[in-house]
């Protein structure tokens, strides 16, 4: 069973079709990247899976279950999303503790105190941060909170939308290491959107290159080592990212 399976996915915002005929499978435990420029539709694919872009036709299934067009309780237990901007994705008037307890409350889960403590430890945040507000945290700390929130319901699949592009390189390294460790510890599947090809090389097994709403190529992450891309657009993207095809 694949963790995420997309078949002939078309996504529209109103009358504008932004994604066309996207099909791929992400195996359980795999880390899969969607790469491309802004406007290529890569984030829209994540949104459709999460139920945030309801105008789609085709087939989406997550862990063998077909997806509906809206977010749902059962789905939230299996699949969660981490957004790009940690400054925008945390409620400014809620403490870290409230943010992390809320999913447990919504799903009627007990021993909240212990679970919050454990999750803070898992994402490498000291317990003194538990009762702070987002504005009292740095960008990297906020992104740790956002990742912790996504993991509170112990999902198996994580949708990551440019999780480090708003961060400094040194902080990016910390968050990428964290995501990599969590995936190994908890057997997670990642579907990650990024425009940064070296990040794909570090984090992912395979990638789909998107251009103008279509997947032009699906390549293993090792293609980044030698530039062995088949599609001319993928090769141009690789070259623009500073890749050299001959070493």
């Amino acid at each position: 069973m694949s963790a995420i399976s997309l078949q002939g996915l078309d996504i529209s915002y109103g009358s504008a079709k932004v994604v066309e005929g996207v099909s791929f499978d992400v195996a359980e435990g795999e880390s899969f990247a969607l790469v491309g420029e802004s406007g290529s539709g890569k984030s829209t694919v994540l949104k459709a899976i999460a139920g945030l872009a309801p105008g789609w036709t085709g087939e989406i299934s997550v862990l063998g279950q077909p997806r509906g067009h809206r977010p749902g309780r059962g789905f939230a237990r299996r699949c969660q999303m981490v957004f790009q901007d940690p400054y925008g994705s945390l409620h400014p008037r809620k403490t870290v503790d409230t943010v992390l307890s809320e999913p447990l409350q919504v799903h009627g889960l007990g021993s909240r105190d212990a679970r919050v403590e454990e999750m803070l430890r898992a994402v490498g945040l000291d317990r003194r941060f538990r009762f702070r507000y987002p504005h009292q945290l740095s960008g990297g700390q906020r992104q740790r909170v956002a990742i912790a929130r996504a993991l509170m319901l112990e999902p198996k699949v994580m949708l990551l939308d440019e999780p480090t592009s708003a961060l400094d390189v040194s902080v990016q390294a910390e968050i990428l290491n964290l995501l990599k460790r969590l995936r190994a510890e908890q057997g997670l599947t990642y579907l990650m959107v990024t425009h940064n090809l070296p990040v794909v090389g570090f984090m992912c097994d395979r990638m789909a290159v998107m251009n103008r709403g279509r997947v032009v190529e699906i390549a293993p992450a090792t293609a980044l080592h030698d530039g062995s891309f088949a599609d001319p657009y993928s090769r141009a993207l690789y070259a623009a990212s500073g890749g050299t095809a001959h070493d």
Partner: protein
Amino acid sequence: MSAPLLSVEDLRVSFPTPAGRVEVVRGLSFDLGRERLGIVGESGSGKSMTGRAILRLVRAPGQVTAKRMEFEGIEIQSLSERRMHDLRGARISMIMQDPKFSLNPVMTVGRQIAEALQAHERPGRRATRARVLEMLDAVRINEPERVAKMYPHEISGGMGQRVMIAMMLIPRPSLLIADEPTSALDVSVQAQVLDLIDELVRDHGMGLILISHDLNLVSRYCDRIMVMNAGRVVESCAAADLHRAQHPYTRGLLAAVPRMHETRGTLPVLDRSDWSGT
């Protein structure tokens, strides 16, 4: 190297906080000729404040002091606001990070570029129009006549940044400060915009200060690099020697970047206790 275009000695920028004044730039000194200087550092390192201080754009309650800050032999600090106005844009100009927030949304592209020119020179209508179109052409905009009539929301981010470059270069300044000029753009467009800045800077014999958090990018487009941390320059070297950098902070930053040929299992993380006493 030719006589310095810009010479800065002991630049300090501070802001008041409840706990007293905090210096965000602490004693920066450098000389810039007609060359390309890169300033790199993380957020909060003081790199953008340095750029702003040179243009006297740090607003109160921020405070800027320097022993010396000379541009083409003129002491910038003692200039009247009016003289400074003549200098800004005409002799030193600055490209900001995001074209979406820096262009006037209710004015056509052509008029904005013309305004930048007319603020400093008084060419006639026909001459202005010719210069605007010529400039748009120089920043590789196809069909300059059509684009000049468009509004900022009608053009893409990469095109917006090119319009901004046109606007900044039309008065023919001798120093260009580019503060993260491409971090809001896609990788494929980034290279085009930087190549363009590079070419124009070389052709016009200008000086360039490129401010960025991206070490690799800066090393590709600059001659010399200053690495800043917590308001101080921790290391200064020729761009070509960046990979031989000595300071633990620079080495840490370089190592933290994922590589295209990545084989490391975990990325090294900065151990900040290594170099900062506090």
